[in-house]
């Protein structure tokens, strides 16, 4: 992919401008920070950002799952944020298809089509979690420099908010979430917040995060060079399910009090994982220490996930800037982009 073209160290990577950005809330109808934030931003209509040198960029505000929002539920028939694989978007569809499958196609038409030149340049999909994760950007790539630079910008602008970059190592063929529809995309996940509740500190963090992201896009589009640096990337390794009763499939233990709320604090082999209802401690049996996250996320009980585990890696991020108009035309004619 374009974002991963190897570049010489010390050089600036030139990437296409981000002309169209989408901010999506309510993909899960009970994750209320995004619901309320996008509603508020919609009140201000489409935001048009004036650019000094190039054409203006536009920001689309989208409430992704209005029916689930109306019922204050995660979804009506099926999880919308799993309905964006190429297979689901382009396969056959019947009249009795789940609501979210029909909706994912509408969103794909609006913001995509996924994988085509007409897709929006950047999708930021807003989510909340019951896990104590602070602010996380979740992306399918650990070398999408746009996403990584946005993350660095947020870190600089919001030093009091705990922030992590999570990498889901899933190929673009199998990517399934709304943020995969744009040329670049990520989920902005903030917790802890119960579903069906808006906590003002979480809302404010999300509002600030979105504002700083849009500021970054404006700066990028106007030619700013963003310096090289590094990001600690958490790449998912595996999920661990709750112990369950073999007959009823009901869980037989809770997240252990020593692990509860300790997302991103290293879990070592033999550390406490679960506490059974009879008070027994079950321990982590893996071979390597890993970083837990999505610890006790409500929506993941039904997905069979008590927690996820990640490895941390220092990723070097090159300097980047937006392509000039001349570079863009040359690029389109097949020439490699000229480096500064």
């Amino acid at each position: 992919p374009l974002c991963c073209k190897p570049e010489k160290r010390g050089k600036v990577v030139c990437l296409p401008r981000l002309s169209r950005v989408a901010v999506c809330g309510g993909t899960h109808g009970n994750e209320l920070s995004g619901v309320y934030l996008v509603r508020e931003l919609l009140k201000a209509k489409d935001i048009v950002m004036e650019e000094e040198r190039e054409e203006p960029a536009s920001v689309l505000m989208v409430l992704a799952n209005p029916r689930a929002m109306q019922q204050c539920r995660r979804y009506v028939d099926t999880d919308l944020n799993r309905c964006f694989t190429h297979a689901t978007l382009n396969g056959p569809i019947s009249d009795s298809a789940p609501y979210e499958m029909t909706r994912s196609r509408e969103l794909n038409a609006m913001l995509g089509p996924k994988g085509s030149p007409g897709a929006v340049d950047l999708v930021c999909d807003l989510h909340n979690t019951t896990a104590n994760m602070g602010l996380c950007l979740i992306a399918y790539s650990d070398c999408d420099w746009i996403c990584l630079h946005i993350f660095k910008h947020l870190q600089r602008q919001m030093p009091d908010v705990p922030m992590r970059f999570i990498h889901f190592d899933v190929s673009s063929k199998e990517s399934y979430s709304l943020d995969s529809v744009g040329k670049h995309g990520f989920a902005m996940e903030i917790g802890p917040q119960p579903h069906g509740v808006v906590r003002s500190n979480i809302y404010t963090a999300m509002k600030d995060g979105v504002q700083h992201m849009l500021d970054w896009v404006r700066l990028f589009n106007s030619g700013t060079i963003f310096e090289a640096g590094f990001v600690d990337v958490f790449t998912i390794v595996k999920n661990i399910d709750y112990p369950r009763d073999s007959e009823t499939h009901n869980i037989t233990a809770t997240i252990h009090p020593q692990l509860q709320d300790r997302d991103f604090l290293l879990l070592h082999p033999d550390d406490a994982l679960f506490q059974t209802f009879s008070g027994e401690t079950l321990r982590y049996k893996g071979n390597e220490p890993l970083y837990p996250f999505f610890v006790n996320e409500c929506a993941y009980y039904e997905k069979g996930i008590a927690l996820s585990l990640a490895r941390k890696r220092h990723v070097v991020v090159p300097a980047i800037r937006a392509q000039t108009e001349a570079e863009r035309r040359r690029d389109q004619q097949g020439f490699a982009s000229e480096e500064e």
Partner: protein
């Protein structure tokens, strides 16, 4: 005060309800556990029945299917005809009333605990109907005193700072523990609820054995009114619970204190005439009930000494 203790009949039959709201997981989990193996809740000469009140809502992990079961026990609903055409929870209310009531009849259960969780930072809260029933007051007082005494020894990680007793008109005797998100099971909340129930059953056993509980004063919070979120002309919420008030259950709210924060950053202040004690602050299920929090007033009640008849 040398007046003789008030006499009450033995409490022979005790029910423990879980899953009245299907996504309040501590009660669901405890009751399922005890249905499978009830040894933990057995006491001498007491028949203890754990019971899932709203099984369909539990199965779907949702608060309710048709209507809130915890508001369904009205006289109209309990006498309504129509069987299978009635809303699911109305049918359940009639069934539960048949099995465990009716109130005041000789077959009725003596004590019923209804287990709940809340997203509010309420710690352990015991909820009593606004009656002057000294038996219930004494039981709540015993639970509160014993729980607080044992709290620091055994549950150092437990975040609950107090056990509060609330008097109101709309619950049956309830136990509310939070904060816990709906659909989530937190081990500290689970263990706290378990311990509270243990004390409740111990009290009943002691009472049935003839122990006299001397007169006591009980601090309670009496519910005054519900405060809704500020809304626009279309009924949409336009502000959130202010960060100063968020998680401040049981802390005094004075006139002029920050109360709400609008989405564009303006602070709205509490305009009441005197200090109140807010609770149920930012409970998820109450957005649709138009309730951001509930105001209460602190009161001290006196419960006379009680003893088995």
């Amino acid at each position: 005060n040398f007046s003789p203790p008030a006499r009450f009949d033995e409490a022979r039959r005790v029910a423990i309800f879980g899953g009245t709201h299907g996504n309040e997981m501590s009660g669901v989990t405890l009751v399922n556990l005890w249905v499978k193996n009830g040894s933990e809740i057995q006491r001498k000469m007491v028949d203890t029945k754990p019971f899932i009140t709203n099984p369909r809502a539990v199965e779907k992990c949702t608060r309710y299917v048709d209507t809130d079961l915890n508001r369904a026990f009205t006289p109209e609903n309990l006498s309504a005809l129509g069987e299978g055409d009635l809303p699911y929870e109305v049918q359940r209310a009639q069934e539960i009333n048949r099995i465990f009531g009716p109130k005041g009849s000789p077959e009725a259960y003596d004590v019923i605990f209804d287990l709940h969780n809340t997203t509010s930072n309420m710690g352990c809260t015991l909820i009593l109907e606004s009656s002057k029933d000294y038996f219930n007051l004494q039981m709540m007082n015993y639970i509160k005193v014993t729980a607080l005494r044992s709290n620091t020894e055994y549950y150092p990680r437990f975040s609950c700072k107090s056990v509060n007793i609330v008097l109101c008109d709309w619950f049956i005797a309830g136990l509310e523990v939070g904060p816990q998100p709906q659909g989530v099971l937190r081990s500290n909340i689970f263990e706290a609820m378990r311990v509270i129930l243990k004390h409740a059953l111990d009290f009943i056993e002691l009472f049935n054995e003839g122990v006299e509980f001397p007169t006591c004063t009980v601090e309670v919070f009496r519910v005054l009114e519900r405060i809704d979120y500020p809304r626009d002309a279309n009924g949409n919420i336009i502000a959130m619970v202010h960060p100063n008030l968020q998680d401040g259950d049981w802390e005094p709210l004075n006139p002029g204190d920050p109360m709400f924060l609008t989405f564009d950053g303006k602070t709205l202040h509490y305009q009441g005439s005197g200090t109140i004690y807010p609770t149920f602050i930012n409970e998820a299920a109450y957005y649709e009930k138009q309730q951001a929090f509930v105001t209460t007033r602190r009161e001290t009640l006196v419960a006379s000494a009680i003893r088995k008849a």
